[in-house]
Symmetry: C2
Subunit: 633 residues, 2 copies
């Protein structure tokens, strides 16, 4: 086993699709490098510790007879182990954990390939395979397989990798044997994309066939009503017939990721079009400005169209990760910049905000508003990030995403190389290679230096985000036309490239005020502050003494300012002109004809910080959407 | 046993409090009469049928050996039987059901007084009394006791009543014996108010003492974390120390109702002040314009202050009922009109809207907005009322409230008689009696005719709602000053009254536009339509062909009109000037500096109907809060 691209999502040569992923290495100095460093040094070790503290590893040791006690945690607790293991392989760190865990999994596996410490408990064994609507057995298998894919692509020669791959294959073979002709599915999608990737690693076609079968099986009411109805697990309608995303968001985006994998590997353009249609339904009416999805805490679901409350946003971290991974698959399949735009948005906001500055505490849900007086006593909606959760799906998911962040940066096609996400990195495509150097998104400049090339002309395509209306360019120091060379969202530079050629792209990032579609009732009369791909927010800690955040209104008639400073909570903050409404309290309801709610209030300027850095100081109110002050008469 | 006042909440002569309830009979012709007629003829028989269809009665028959099969429904399914029984007693109808059920309860009761068909099942018996945090055993006992209170006050001589009273007393005696010196409480308050009422019926002081004990026990973390944390069942802080309503709304309002009962019967003004403080915290920032409470589906809870989304309003029917009953207790205790105002608001909106026009289907949650494209496939948030629910607490609760509606109309004190709620009725206070004749709230006029009186002067007090700024009066046909005689929310007419004296009160009801506190983000830039106590709404069925409700905006610069017509969905509708925004879809987010979302759109006039009558036609979008059209430049 040997793979040039040591990352998730590597379609086979036979797959349909416009772009191919490229090997990339994130280099120190920028935000991506900082995120990967923090992930390796803080988040991943923290996850390993928590697996011990919360009994996830002990659950597996009970199966091998090396531990006693009760099964602990949710019945799918093994997945936290598998995701952490995947992160360890992508990261190339936490080697003792990876080796011990690989051996443990091998030892815990049943002779027939089954591996799920909850159902291997004698008390639960009678229910093995008997309650697929909520058992998560295949979901668990899927995460095991994804760990194996990481092992195979990142460290194929290591003993640990070979152990994990063979454990995963045995489990996958069992699935093929048991469900290869079945009409059943698991209540939580995940195994579809995992099986398709395992096919990509092994070339073993039955894995892909089974992934396709699971995609097709769902939607025929095979899972029953359950607690939240069949939509919850996307079992209400066959996928190909659907027009709207629905149900539990993480289930949906994992399912759609698997459907894209199956579509491209089987050349199924109808299935791909289905996913594109559902993607559009999500992006047009069910996505937060942070890229988060999921408007409801109850059943962790998409809401109705335009139901996007900032305070009760669920916007689960895992959903943001799943969407990022789905967008990448759609980018590879179509080559369309909008998918990279969305990856950028969700990465810099919905995903980045999940992890604390120190890398060891996390949000599960990611609200866009926290009110003064918020009751943060329950882990469902805490006021600060927590170090772990009773259902701890998000932290190790963040770890595996950050450990594989290099996978999502660049691609190639017959025309040349495309850079989609901007972070300091090195990119290689055979004889062609380059370095990318940038402090993006704090700085507007991205410098690409060609390190090696061949003699043929090729196109270097640099994404110009849809939010950017001020794009500038120099090549080897000489100004060059920029906007004119942008086609379909990419600045496309076609030439014979020489080592040392230096492209400097400037993506102008003025602070902007953004408003939502008028059907989004929850943020009517309010605006969000955005600079480049980064959504900003107001936090109580930055308000003047004695001011309640809910009384601060945006003065849209005065200009916003961008402040650069390399100390404090963020390298770049915004200076926001506001009016502070009187804290004198009018009644909850009153006639519109009576005096309006006081004058606009005294003017002030307050600091807005990047949303993804909120809740790193004392607990307090926060809001992304700022009410617009009424203009004074 | 004999009681002049055949209704719930009759404080003893020794209780503190300003007002005493009066016996009232609702008479045909007005809205109250229609509601009581429909309740007796449709809702109550429907509930009885459903108790058979859903196995609630069979659960009890399993205990007596008269039925087989499995226990069906939630573990507190007995309460639906008890509440329906209570409704039957207040209504004086459904006599066969009442008699059979009384006998069944007597037969099913354990020798020691225990009665709960779930825990009497041999499979569950080991857990009897062992899981109070969610067992609902005392909650169930409470509803049994309330049925007994209804029996004792409404039909004390009947065999069925005597059976139910003695069953309830045996259970109450068991509670006293078991928990009279305990620090425990039930996870769901309800038994507190029931025990206090049973004390009022029987004069047996240990019932009151136990109610007081349960009020004091809660708030010391005795119930554990549970699924939603201790706030869920108000166990996070001792009641007397609390400043904010919290947790599951029905639990909170039932607890507070019991606390008022205990406070007035024990002369505990500190406890009464505690409830008043918590009431204020709910009314100032956590109550919908319909009087509904509960902003979250998840854990059926109050939200944070000012978190009042119309679309995801939970506003459970039972919470509205509990609040109505709590407000009545506070009105009796304080004599303050604000509590009667709130009773009027929640009755005509939050409660009335729960039941369909035909009386046989019901909302459990009562949203103030239903979006186009709403997924109403699950009973958690259906698009139309359902005939029953898997947790069917609301329908029989509505039945018992409507059957006892006469209880909440009028009071007396040493000064005379107070009329709080306006519906056609007869009111008696010893030698003084009167008839009230009105089509309120459709008509503005209320006519009170004195039927009998004594020779002493006394004060007839007629509530003037806080929303009313145009009050007029005639006495025996002669205009009299009105506004000048209003004190503390009541028009107070002091004189020697003669049989035949006729007071005609006119409460002007122009259509009004109401706005919310600026911290209520969810309805910023929108207004609600209100006439008298009735909140109106727009429903898709009344929109012009091809218009999507979400694109309709209110033209606040044009006057609203009131239309009276006695056909169609409502006797009084509003004619609303609107602008219809182009259905052309802008992107979900865009820069504020780009053109605003199109011009205000063409002008039209649409019909608004009373909120409480929505969802009586085909399913479709509805909204109470209408966006305000931007004024054209």
């Amino acid at each position: 086993m040997s793979f040039e691209v040591k990352s998730p999502v590597v379609p086979t040569a036979g797959a349909i699709g416009r772009l191919r992923p490229l090997p990339v290495t994130i280099t120190p100095g920028g935000l991506f490098g900082e995120w990967q460093r923090r992930n390796a040094e803080a988040t991943l070790p923290h996850c390993v510790e928590q697996l011990d503290a919360y009994g996830n590893l002990a659950n597996l040791r009970r199966v091998t007879g090396d531990a006693g006690g009760e099964f602990r945690g949710f019945w799918f607790a093994d997945t936290d182990v598998h995701k952490t293991l995947e992160a360890a392989f992508w990261s190339g760190t936490a080697q003792p954990f990876a080796e011990e865990t690989a051996a443990l999994l091998e030892k815990a596996q049943d002779p027939d390939g089954y591996l799920d410490s909850y159902y291997q408990d004698p008390a639960n064994r009678p229910q093995q395979w008997n309650e697929l609507h909520f058992s998560h057995e295949m979901y668990t298998a899927g995460h095991l397989i994804q760990a194996a894919v990481a092992a195979a692509r990142s460290a194929p020669e290591s003993v640990a990798a070979q152990q994990v791959v063979s454990v995963a294959r045995r489990f996958a073979d069992l699935l093929v044997q048991r469900y290869g002709a079945s009409t059943e599915v698991d209540g939580h999608p995940e195994v579809e994309t995992a099986l398709a990737e395992l096919y990509r690693v092994t070339g073993h076609r039955p894995y892909l066939d089974l992934a396709k079968r699971f995609v097709e099986n769902r939607g025929h009411g095979v899972l029953g009503e359950g607690r939240f109805g069949p939509r919850y697990y996307q079992d209400h309608e066959p996928l190909r017939e659907r027009t709207e995303v629905a149900g539990h968001v993480v289930r949906e985006v994992y399912l759609l990721a698997g459907a894209v994998d199956v579509a491209v590997e089987t050349g199924d353009r109808e299935l791909l079009d289905t996913v594109l249609r559902l993607w559009d339904s999500a992006l047009s009416s069910r996505t937060y400005i942070t890229g988060g999805q999921g408007s409801r805490h109850r059943d962790e679901a998409y809401g109705d169209p335009y139901e996007l409350p900032p305070d009760r946003a669920y916007a689960e971290s895992c959903a943001a990760i799943g969407n990022f991974q789905l967008a990448w698959r759609l980018l590879l399949a179509t080559g369309e910049a909008r998918f990279a735009d969305e990856m950028e948005r969700v990465l810099h906001n919905g995903i980045a905000g999940s992890t604390a500055a120190d890398g060891t505490s996390f949000f599960y849900s990611n609200p866009l508003q926290l009110r003064t007086g918020h009751d943060g006593s329950h882990e469902d909606a805490p006021s600060q990030r927590l170090t772990w959760y009773s259902c701890a799906c998000c932290p190790p998911n963040l770890a595996r995403l950050m450990a594989s962040l290099h996978a999502y940066v660049a691609t190639s096609d017959s025309s040349g190389i495309q850079i989609h996400l901007y972070g300091s990195s090195t990119v290689a495509a055979g004889s062609r290679s380059m370095t990318v150097d940038t402090r993006y998104p704090w700085d507007e400049q991205v410098t690409v230096t060609v390190e090696s090339s061949d003699d043929a002309p090729w196109t270097l395509a640099l994404r110009v985000p849809a939010w950017c209306s001020d794009v500038r360019l120099t090549i080897n120091g000489a100004p060059a036309p920029a906007r004119q060379q942008v086609r379909d969202g990419y600045l496309r530079l076609h030439r014979v490239w020489q080592p040392g050629d230096r492209v400097q792209l400037t993506l102008g990032m003025p602070a902007r005020l953004v408003t939502a579609h008028p059907r989004v009732d929850a943020v009517r009369g309010a605006a969000a502050l955005v600079r480049g791909p980064v959504v900003y927010c107001l936090e109580q800690a930055d308000m003047p003494q004695g001011t309640v955040l809910e009384d601060v209104e945006l003065d849209a008639s005065s200009p916003l300012a961008v402040a650069f400073h390399h100390t404090g909570i963020a390298p770049v903050t915004l200076r926001v002109p506001v009016r502070i409404r009187s804290a004198e309290q009018p009644p909850l309801y009153r006639d519109l004809t009576t005096a309006p709610h006081g004058p606009a209030g005294p003017a002030a300027t307050v600091t807005a910080i990047p949303y993804f850095l909120w809740a790193n100081r004392q607990p307090g109110a926060m809001r992304v959407w700022i009410p617009l002050a009424r203009q004074e008469d």
